[in-house]
Amino acid sequence: MNIYSLLRNLAKSIRAQNIFVASKEMSGIHIFKNTINFSRVQEFYLSWLYSYDMIMRDIIVDKISEKVLTDELYEDSYLLWRRENKYKEENKSQDNKKDLYLVSGKTINFPKRM
């Protein structure tokens, strides 16, 4: 197994995920000894901690099954689809919102009640 796969395995371990969640909620908990100047592998690891956190949340709310965690390709593909889908949804909601935008500085004359 290559080093990057091992880092991904570590990032998806329950222990690593617990520390990650705790570090987000408590300022005294750090993932690394250094709190600045992250190395390339540290940044890679951090990005996978975030990605697995997202996957785990989706598993918890039953959006997907744990099967996704059995293969890196499944994980990658799901995250890619999730990102693309979110992007599409955001675009769609932006389009829908277009009609609701108010132009600042313009007075709207609402019809008077009879």
């Binding site: 091992l6 395995n9 690394f32 190395s39 099967k67 390709l73 689809w81």
Partner: protein, 210 residues
């Protein structure tokens, strides 16, 4: 009895996995990586600002030397030369890679969608096989391109940068604390311990933001 053997195998596998993970934890605990080699403790670390400036200076100097060398060509010029000799990298490799990458992306999106719908393992495996075949084709093409452009100026400069990073970031533990392994770039280039260079180099590259 068979159950006990299976259980023992499962425990051993789990222990191996945990040992592997704790080893990998060592690589990320901070921005340094230490290891032992011939009874000495070595480490590579993230370059500091002064060292990054030295790296930039040496890289510029090397670029100046390479650009004057008439036997070394830029990638784009090598591509033209290959084309004249009947090897069209853009058409035969780049264009194919682009098509394969687009196909792979589409399949991955489809695979992601079927995962979100909790489809059966058979469907997932079917997509997986197709994607893996595409990846294999793309890797073959990428390797072909890398081999064709090995002697480009860009490759020469990249290889030099890796050498500088290794030379600048390598330290050995002594009674006086951590000191540089190599006094100078020449000292590094003369080093005959290939195993040590290889270890220092691979760890150094893992750490640096290039």
């Amino acid at each position: 009895m068979e159950d006990r053997i299976q259980e023992a195998e499962r425990i051993v596998k789990k222990m191996e996995k945990e040992t592997e993970l704790s080893k990998i934890e060592e690589l990320i605990k901070d921005n340094k990586i230490s290891f032992e080699h011939n009874d000495k403790k070595y480490r590579t670390r993230l370059l500091n600002l002064a060292e990054k400036e030295e790296l930039d200076m040496l890289r510029r100097k090397k670029f100046g030397q390479l650009i004057k060398d008439k036997d070394i060509f830029f990638e784009k010029d090598l591509i033209i030369q290959y084309k004249e000799k009947g090897i069209d990298i853009e058409k035969e490799i780049d264009a194919k890679i682009k098509i394969i990458t687009a196909e792979e992306f589409d399949l991955q999106i489809k695979l992601g969608e079927v995962i979100s719908k909790n489809e059966s393992e058979t469907i997932l495996k079917n997509y997986k096989e197709k994607i893996e075949q595409l990846r294999l084709q793309r890797n073959i093409l990428s390797t072909q391109k890398i081999l064709l452009l090995t002697y480009s100026l860009e490759c020469a400069l990249e290889s030099f940068v890796y050498q500088i990073i290794t030379y600048l970031s390598s330290e050995v533990q002594t009674e006086n604390g951590w000191v540089k392994v190599f006094k100078s770039l020449e000292d590094f280039q003369k080093c005959e311990d290939e195993k040590l260079i290889c270890k220092l180099g691979s760890y150094a590259v893992l750490l640096q933001q290039l």
